[in-house]
Amino acid sequence: MSAAAMETSIKRPRFAERRSTRKAVLVWSFLAPSLLIFLLYRILPLGWNVVLSFEAWSPLKPAVFIGLENYQEMFTDDDVFWQALWNTLGIIASAPAGIAVALGLALLVNSNIRGRDVYRTLIFLSYPLMTVAVAIIWRWMFDERVGLINYVARSFHLADSPIPFLNSFTWALPCVIVANIWQMLGFYMIIILTGLQTIPANLYEAAEIDGANSFRRFLRITLPLLKPSLFLCFVIGMLNSVTSFDLIYVMTNGGPGHATEILVTYIYKLAFNQTRFDYAAAITVVFFLLLLAVTWGANRLSGGNVGAVEHD
């Protein structure tokens, strides 16, 4: 190798190194503002929240380290926490029901039916609505005196007297779940519809030639290929459900009693109604871990590719 060639070969890596450094600097400088905001508004509060969960603190009073006392109270002495936790899990568990309905609707509006675009729009309309508006609509629907559901139930002699849906320990949570599912239905349907349209038609043709009936085609082709979309729906639906503070706040405010209390409403009440920021912080830590576990579980179940679009 000539001296000049050797020099070039030495220069090239240096040049490439410099170029990659420059690129890295550029990338980090673009990322820096977002990361800074993320650090300031997410990571630091989260860290402070963890510290607070081990302290006794309220505004205007100095913090005192109390170890695991807040956690001990939560797990051994607080019935409301357990009820809120079960309600939260119940709402998470209701997400698949909404996804199943949305899957059926998506299959319908994916077929060649007349006016399918109108149906798609109508079903999707619930999603962009403000949650507070959704809550008010459903609160009226379930109203004991002037609600549409009671009116229909009594008109068809399904109920002898008005049912106080949102004031009933039995009915309040299912009612909130119905409202939540209704709002998310449009979103689920669009995601599933997108997934359906990426499934190659030739797969169905081949299966049909092989004699597979429509149910088997759905079971063997549609469902497996929709898996990433379905899990995406589940993860987003689950996150939306467990954080549906506004829906519950407006519809029931967690009542009657604590029948519709979920962790996020309970945390709010503890912090701002009872000034127990320290204890609320401890529940927030548990809530965070719960969300982390459920999201991780869902991602694992989907094979680690939630939201991925399958290509042939």
Binding site: K61, N167, P256, F272, N273
Partner: protein, 416 residues
Amino acid sequence: MDRRTVLKTGLAAAGSLAMPAYLRAQSNKKISILTWNIADQEALFKEEFEEFRKANPGVEIEWLDKKGPDLPAFYQTQLVAGTAPDVIDIQGALWVEWAANGALLDLTPYFHNDPAFVKMFNPDYMSAFVYEKKNYLVPFYVAKTLLYYNKTMFKEAGLSAPPKSFDELLTFSQAMGKGEKTGFLTLNFDWLYWPLMKMNGIELLTPDFKKPAFNTAAAAELLDRLAKSTASGAINKIAWTGRWVEPNGAFAAGTVGMLQAHSASYFFVKGQGRWINPDTLGAAQAPGDWSTPTNHGFGVSKSSKNPELAFALVKHMTSVKWATRLAQIRRVLTANIEADKAGLDSVKADDPLAYAVLRTQLEHTDKMTGNWPLANDAQIKEAFWPEFQNAVLGRKDAKTALADAERAVSRVLRRA
């Protein structure tokens, strides 16, 4: 320099020397005031502020109103941030917690300096704002519970007058609770149901507020009777499950015999119930004349940089002139004796029913209950209420519910 100029300068100098110290020091001072769900009175407040500004040149007033559920959270974040408003309108027992935590200014010295100001107010309403012998609020507008009754339903059930005892209250409820009709409803937030307990001699805590006092045989019997009456339909279940709109709305529908609620409910119920007129709706004291207040008062934040000026604004807004205007426009009582007299006089001719309702607010003010000055009132409420609810709705037997409530309340008291 001519004689006129000398005279003007001299007068200005004398005037400034004669001004109170806080007025001299206040040029370009800003006072912030936070009110609670009373944005509808913007026009009145603007007039009040204008007059205050004229009397206090250079003072700016920043007014902010927050809806009921938003105000506590807002004020707490402002406290933590060190930007609490100078003057705050507080409802219910929240002030006690803030006073105990050092967020509110002790107004006792100001009261001592101005006994004439204190004398303007009803002493019972005034004493409801005392914590550990210190005054923290000045009444802004006040309300307490009363018993509304549907005269038509009373007639149909052969009843002629409102109940005078708890036994009568249940018997009357039973007489009216048939089919879709129920006999009795109560609001339940902020201890508004507590007169039911008090009229049966049940106390929440021991006099020193150190221990629960409600877990007694009498309380178990009372809860049992309430549960039975609720199960039979004599008492409407919404009494124990609804918030504000639901019980008031149910009574406005004309199918409930009696409603225990504060005077503010009258205007909501009247707005919804076309059946309501002086011949069909009655207003009386609950048995035993017990009631629970839901008062609004003005406090001054301890962090205020201009506490003198802030208190001057409080005095201004609660003065006879402006309290009268508020009483007349909003049809409320203010605990300002003269203003309430004028307010009631103006209502008497226009709306005799409103007059009857408001008049109850000035009677038996010595028999107010459920307004204990507890720094952890919200926590005690949250510990007690779910178990009370469990008992009256038949989800737990009364003795178990009371024992569970006692455990929960004791835990809160231990934490204090």
